[in-house]
């Protein structure tokens, strides 16, 4: 019997829920019907154990990310704020910068303190070296050196003069030469001197020469001692200045031994850097473009503090969402700067990644970009396994580069990672990645649908209210809210369910709001919602309308009246770009003498999918079970979707294929005013299929085009009745008796409706009543069997060879 209109569509009734518009309802605090997933999320964020990271799986658009983020943010707000982290120079080994952890907010203070220290040093250090005390001591040292020279050389010069010998500066050094009144005498004049005088002069020159050499040999020692004395003076002067400046900073960080240790290293290093500071100050060294980027002159860079994480302004634990989770965006990067054609780097150029920012809190990631972005997944796993963040370039990680770079000290990692993704990715990772279960022990499985109970419908109205408030939309009136709920049911293909894909609903509300605004409505009404639904369909259904048009013009042949043997209207669902529609097709069956084979032509030409082939084999099993228990089925049957040029899959047409085959076997025509959908099992029971609404509407549109006669309708599995949420025009036609939707439980019930002839039940002797469909089929099989037996083996072999296989 045809279904009454009330079973074709389930209108929404909010019952006693009092509201005129949804904005009068309170905000929805928890998602509708996702208790299992919520429990998992709360468990995961509550447990602080290694590996209890969370994977949130559910359909896209279900609002799972927003929801989980909200929950996490609420939890994070109650937690303590984690440490700040910074990198500082490792004075003993600059290639391995040190990390420092400080209580939240104190890293920036340390950075500022060190900046001030550098600024003050630029002034105070030169000032210290300009003081009279320093200059006086410096002058004393210089004078001491000068006096050493003067004393030594002066004494030598004096002695030389007394002996008539001149000390002369020559282009290559100093020389002692015989002289008279200060003027050198040449070899000839020397030879004129008395021999005794010559000997004396020779002896004196030799002695003075030895003294001169002795002085010259001592000069490097004097200079070394002078330099050493100057260095000690400089160190003492630097220590006085630096010690004073560092004193205040040390006092602030007495409670942090690592910082105190670092400050001691700074002080030690400054002793060695003082000359560079002074030189820079003396030369009035201006910061170049690179220095401007690097914040200060070159010598100052090593005393800076590179704050990686500043949680000073963070209330509670941080919640970080990284939408581009590449390796570098996860673990940070070490940048380089070009200087005179070379690429240089230091600890100031280490930049934080998402793991740094989320450390001590929560990191939310979409799993698809994580898996497809460069090495993001590997980096995340590595960090979670090691419990630390090791900042290294991809080249370093893969051992592709051998250039000198930094290896910063790893930062301890303690965070909760939340991955958000589609269920198929969860299952893929679970089966293919051995680390996955170890690192992501909790799964929050968000359903894509929730029960359409009165309570949930009320919550749905609240959800609409929350959306309207959040998105600043016009409020929905009661009827519009009801229509939205019905739309949500239709999305699930189930009158007892509601879609959890919040994004679809949001899109609908946005569009309805737009329509309402253009119409000058202050509220969104049911008509606005319906107009939005119609507009969405209209934008997407060009191809569907083309198909309908071609059916109307009989280019695609679909009959909606009359009777045909071995032909039935089957229904399939076509999905294009997110839009699905039902398409009727003629399914035909032909039989001939053979060996019990049912040939699926779609499969033979590789247009049929495995599920379709399975359906055909099942219906063959039904025929064999019912009619071939005592004798082999001596037939070959072929089945095809006429004018189908694309692939066919699914078993929803298996009942229609069986009806066509039975019609051909019984030689009884089928009413073409019906279309059929439903799968069948080997016992002849009709089973539920998907897309029932689209299929019915697709055939209805064809019938309407060709003319509704009142005889037309669709046979659907009885178990699909609960899925009916049909278009209003279909419901109206059914109510007017111009179109029928008839549920069937079994093949026998269906064939009776299609042929108008009883199917016939087997009696105790195994016979079917005369004139029934089953009796006719049994008789046909018997006739085929007799004919097969009359043929010899050679004929059967020939028939096998002629079998139309590729």
């Amino acid at each position: 019997m045809a279904l009454p209109p009330e079973l074709l569509y389930c209108p929404c009734d909010f019952g006693d829920l009092a509201f005129e518009t949804v904005d009068q309802l309170p905000d929805l605090l928890a998602p509708v019907g996702q208790e299992r997933a919520l429990g998992a999320v709360q468990f995961a964020i509550g447990i602080r154990r290694d590996g209890f990271n969370l994977f949130v799986l559910g359909p896209a658009g279900s609002g799972r990310r927003t929801l989980v983020k909200d929950l996490i943010e609420r939890q994070a707000a109650k937690e303590s704020t984690p440490q700040d982290w910074c990198y500082v120079n490792n004075f003993g080994d600059p290639r391995h910068p040190r990390c420092l952890g400080l209580p939240a907010g104190r890293a920036m203070a340390l950075r500022d303190s060190m900046r001030r220290l550098v600024d003050e040093l630029r002034v105070a250090l030169p000032a210290g070296f300009e003081r009279d005390e320093y200059r006086a001591r410096h002058d004393i040292l210089d004078q001491q050196l000068k006096q050493r020279h003067e004393t030594a050389f002066g004494d030598l010069q004096h002695r030389a003069q007394e002996k008539g010998i001149a000390l002369i500066r020559t282009p290559v050094g100093l020389a002692l030469a015989p002289a008279v009144k200060g003027e050198v005498i040449g070899p000839e004049a020397f030879d004129q001197l008395p021999e005794a005088e010559q000997e004396r002069i020779k002896t004196d020159i030799q002695a003075l020469q030895g003294d001169l050499e002795g002085i010259v040999r001592r000069i490097p020692d004097w200079e070394r001692e002078h330099r050493q004395a100057l260095r000690e003076l400089n160190r003492a002067t630097t220590a006085a200045v630096v010690g004073h400046l560092l004193q205040d900073i040390r006092a602030k960080y007495q409670d942090l031994p690592e910082v105190v240790d670092y400050l001691q290293a700074v002080e030690r290093d400054l002793m060695e850097t003082a000359e560079e500071v002074l030189k820079s100050a003396r030369e009035g060294q201006e910061a170049g473009p690179v220095d401007a980027i690097a914040d200060g002159p070159p010598w100052a860079r090593k005393y800076q503090v590179n704050v990686m994480v500043d949680n000073g302004a963070v209330q509670g634990a941080p919640v970080v969402y990284e939408d581009h989770p590449t390796h570098l965006n996860m673990v940070g990067r070490i940048e380089q700067m070009a200087r005179f054609g070379a690429l240089l780097t230091d600890f100031n150029l280490i930049l934080p990644g998402a793991l740094h920012r989320a450390n001590g809190g929560y990191l939310v990631l979409d799993v698809e970009p994580l898996l497809t972005s460069g090495f993001g997944w590997e980096s995340l796993k590595r960090a979670l396994r090691a419990g630390e963040i090791r900042t290294a370039s991809l080249e370093q990680m893969l051992s592709l580069a051998s250039t000198v770079s930094l290896e910063p000290q790893p930062i301890p990692l303690n965070l909760k990672v939340v991955l958000v993704g589609a269920p198929r990715i969860y299952y893929l990772l679970a089966s293919l990645d051995p680390d996955f279960h170890e690192l992501f022990k909790v799964a929050a499985d968000f359903d894509d649908r929730v029960p359409r109970s009165p309570e949930n419908m009320g919550l749905y109205a609240q959800l609409l209210g929350s959306m309207v408030r959040r998105e600043k939309l016009r409020p929905l009136d009661r009827a519009a809210a009801a229509r939205s709920v019905e739309y949500a049911s239709r999305l699930t293909e189930d009158r007892d369910k509601l879609s959890a894909r919040v994004a679809d609903l949001m899109d609908l509300l946005h569009e309805a709001d737009h329509i309402a605004r253009r119409a000058g409505h202050e509220r969104i009404g049911a008509a606005d919602i319906q107009a939005a639904i119609d507009a969405q369909i209209y934008r997407a259904d060009r191809y569907y309308q083309r198909i309908q048009e071609e059916i109307g013009r009989n280019t695609i042949r679909v009959e909606t009246e009359g009777q045909q043997i071995g032909q039935v209207n089957g229904l399939s669902v076509v999905g294009i770009g997110g839009f699905s529609f039902g398409q009727p097709s003629r399914i035909t069956a032909r039989i001939r003498l053979g060996h019990g084979e049912v040939i699926d032509i779609e499969r033979e030409v590789a247009l049929g999918g495995p599920l379709h082939s399975k359906g055909v084999l099942i219906l063959a099993g039904f025929l064999g079970g019912r009619f071939g228990r005592d004798a082999p089925l001596s037939l070959t049957a072929s089945l095809v979707f006429e004018q189908s040029y694309g692939g066919v899959d699914g078993d929803s047409a298996s009942s229609a294929e069986l009806y066509a085959l039975m019609s051909a076997l019984a030689d009884v025509p089928i009413r073409q005013s019906f279309a059929v959908t439903g799968s069948v099992d080997q016992l002849g029971r009709v089973q539920a299929i998907g897309g029932v609404n689209e299929k019915i509407e697709g055939f209805f549109d064809v019938c309407r085009t060709k003319g509704l006669s009142g005889e037309q309708g669709v046979l659907i599995p009885a178990s699909n009745v609960r899925h009916l949420m049909l278009r209003h025009d279909v419901v109206d036609a059914a109510q007017a008796g111009r179109f029928r939707i008839i549920p069937v439980e079994s093949i026998d019930q269906g064939i009776e409706l299609l042929t108008g002839i009883p199917a016939g039940a087997v009696d105790i002797s195994g016979q079917y009543p005369a004139g029934t469909i089953n009796q006719r089929i049994a008789a046909r099989f018997a006739a085929l069997s007799r004919k097969a037996r009359q043929q010899g083996p050679q004929d059967r072999q020939r028939q096998r060879k002629e079998k139309p296989r590729g």
Binding site: H149, F153, Q157, T170, P171, A175, A177, G186, V216
Partner: protein, 276 residues
């Protein structure tokens, strides 16, 4: 220039000194006074005598021990340094747009041997090239500088005077006026103030200002006149006034002996202009 005129700046240099500072200083002065530049490279006869002298060994910081220098080697040194000096003069003259000449002499030092005449201005190095950075022997030009009747600038190896100081000990005289005018001119060229240190017999501050104004060399950057404590001698000029300064003296007046001047210049590390 009312009180003194310079037609030619003569720079004398030799192989025992540093060539560059004297040539650069002479070039700047020639450009300032729009005078000709004449550079004389002196092949010191004493150095020539030392070369090949069997009794003489040269001691340096770079050789392992004392070594002789052959006469031919010394000639090579003279030649190389003279060429270097000529190249430097050409470069400085080109840079300052000077009319210049260059000569090599190998005679006993005297103003006549350089072909110097009235209105010439001599620039020499006061000390030889330092040995081991500290040891500075008096240059051979020193006695010439004191003996000549022409104005002489004796500069240090690192000639970068930061201030101009004039010291006047005696009463007003043409020599004193010329010295003050030269000091004022130098201060104006350096765009700096002038400090005048005066002895008890010297003119007062106002008078010195008038003298400078009359000569047209009152420095715009300022004039400061300060009395010398104690007797008016070079030894009484405080070292702090003279460090890295150009000290202008009246060369026609009694200023002490050679050793006084040398000691002062060496101690204070200053250049000295003897204005005549």
């Amino acid at each position: 220039m009312a009180s003194f005129a310079v037609a030619r700046v003569v720079v004398a240099c030799d192989a025992a000194g540093e060539i560059a500072p004297a040539i650069k200083a002479g070039s700047r002065l020639a450009a300032h006074w729009r005078a000709r530049l004449h550079v004389v490279f002196v092949e010191d006869p004493n150095l020539r005598l030392l070369a090949g002298h069997p009794q003489v060994r040269h001691v340096s910081l770079v050789s392992a021990g004392p070594a002789t220098v052959a006469a031919a080697d010394m000639e090579c040194i003279f030649l190389a340094m003279a060429e270097r000096a000529r190249g430097m003069v050409a470069e400085q003259a080109g840079r300052n747009g000077l009319d210049w000449s260059f000569a090599v002499v190998s005679e006993v030092l005297s103003a006549a041997s350089f072909g110097m005449t009235e209105n010439d201005f001599l620039v020499v190095e006061g000390t030889a090239r330092p040995f081991a950075g500290q040891m500075r022997l008096r240059s051979r030009f020193y006695s010439l500088a004191l003996a000549t009747a022409l104005p002489v600038l004796m500069i240090r190896p690192r000639h970068h005077p930061r201030r101009i100081v004039a010291a006047v000990f005696g009463p007003d005289s043409p020599g004193l006026r010329r010295a003050l005018a030269a000091a004022g001119d130098m201060a104006a060229a350096a765009d700096g103030p002038l400090l005048v240190l005066v002895g008890p017999e010297a003119p007062g501050a106002a008078e010195i200002g008038q003298i400078l104004a009359a000569s047209g060399h009152l420095p715009e950057a300022g004039l400061r006149v300060q009395a010398i404590a104690g007797p008016a001698t070079l030894q009484n000029i405080h070292e702090s006034h003279l460090n890295h300064a150009l000290l202008v003296l009246d060369g026609t007046a009694a200023i002490g002996g050679q050793s006084d001047l040398q000691a002062l210049a060496a101690k204070a590390d200053c250049d000295v202009l003897l204005m005549r």
